[in-house]
Amino acid sequence: MANTIKLEIVTPKSVVYSEEVSMVGLPGRQGDMGIYPNHVPLMTKVNAGEIEVTREGQKELLAVGDGFAEIMPEKISILTDMAALEAEIDEAKAEEALKAAENRLKGENLSDEQIIAAEAAAAAAMAQLKVKRRNRS
């Protein structure tokens, strides 16, 4: 029985993460989920937030945006618009992005589309900040 599961995180720009891991914690639509190898096939929406990965006994954190996850017994595929490893997150940039998105939301005459886009951007930036700041405290 395999005791690792392949985790793949894909964004429109690249494949961000592709490793054999032993556990994944991801923010599902109905709360956080912990996924171990040999999970039943499951498909869910993923909220913007942090993904906690245990690989070779080490914990790794990633920030992700809204998306979808497909969970198979031997493979987890996550489809999202943004994903960043903890080390790659630029705190200043994320903060800037968050502010820009919040300002956009304050503006008037926004179409539904624009609101959704701005909210998604804000959530993604927030997730990045959360991951970055967690390790410090």
Binding site: E8, P12, S14, G28, L42, M43, T44, E70, S77, E113
Partner: protein, 293 residues
């Protein structure tokens, strides 16, 4: 016989042209690399999304979504025509618009992305619904705006199908205009499969695995579908841009090569004339001397 001065003037003018086309070639080449990379980078994402959608639609069979509804008699179609804003890119737009001209004139409405397509639609008096532009490095929001027009027309019932006519990127020297059905979603086909030269795309089949859904299949599906349409169009924009820059690069390279060839020929002719005139001058001098002596 042209005078040496005329030829010299022509050489100079052609040299200038060659310089410009060379510069354009360089610019197009660097943009081309970026556009091709972007088109390639989108492939794993598109593939994964196609697979997910195939799984969900296979499971949620009794679920009706307006975007999946296949209307039996298709009266009117909307065509999203993805062309370029600028010319000087070889036969790209000509080929694309030749295909557009063959579409049913009475029963199609056009949504144009790119100026060249809009000009064509205006010139041939077809029905234009919207003219939109997209950035040189296409943004996802561009695709969303364009897709929204198509989806709105479809859900309102103004049209019964939405197609996209765009130039598919096959390789740097080969691009092909292609018509893809966007709505209703019948075959889940990926544009991305074609990047590697596979013209057919591929219909994805569900793996037959029983999936659980959280919260439930309809909800996952109803948020996956619009995203799928948007992303599909985004990938099409990327492909079009890769085609445009590739085509322009090749066109400009040919122009530069031709200009250099003409310069070579003209220089040869110029030297011949120059030599002929020197020879005749020498002849005249020697004959004059012999006559005097």
């Amino acid at each position: 016989m042209p005078s040496t001065r005329d030829i010299r003037r022509r050489i100079k003018s052609i040299k200038n042209t060659a310089q410009i086309t060379k510069a354009m070639q360089m610019v197009a080449a660097s943009k081309m690399r970026r556009a091709q990379d972007a088109a390639m980078a989108g492939r794993p994402y598109a593939e994964l999304m196609n697979r997910m959608l195939a799984e969900v639609t296979a499971t949620a069979t009794d679920f009706q979504h307006p975007l999946l509804e296949n209307r039996t008699n298709t009266k009117k179609r909307a065509i999203i025509l993805v062309s370029t804003d600028k010319g000087l890119c070889g036969g790209l737009n000509t080929n694309l618009l030749r295909d557009a001209a063959q579409l049913d004139k009475e029963n199609s409405v056009f949504i144009c992305a790119g100026r060249k397509g809009a000009q064509f639609v205006g010139r041939t008096r077809r029905e234009l619904t919207a003219e939109l532009s997209y950035a040189d490095v296409p943004e996802f929001s561009d695709a969303r705006t364009i897709a929204k027009f198509g989806v709105d027309l479809y859900t309102e019932g103004t049209v019964d199908a939405v197609d996209v006519l765009f130039t598919n990127f096959i390789s740097t020297i080969n691009q092909k205009p292609e018509l893809r059905q966007l709505l209703p979603i019948v075959n889940i086909k990926g544009v991305e499969g074609t990047v590697a030269g596979d013209n057919e795309g591929h219909t994805l089949e569900a793996s037959g695995q029983e999936f659980l859904f959280e919260p439930d299949a309809p909800e996952v599906l109803s948020s996956l579908l619009p995203h799928y349409i948007n992303y599909q169009l985004f990938q099409i924009l990327l492909e079009s841009k890769a085609s445009e820059h590739s085509s322009r690069m090749v066109a400009m390279k040919n122009a530069t090569d031709n200009a250099n060839q003409i310069i070579k020929d003209l220089t040869l002719e110029y030297n011949k004339i120059r030599q002929a005139s020197i020879t005749s001058e020498l002849l005249e001098i020697t004959t004059a001397q012999m006559a005097l002596g």
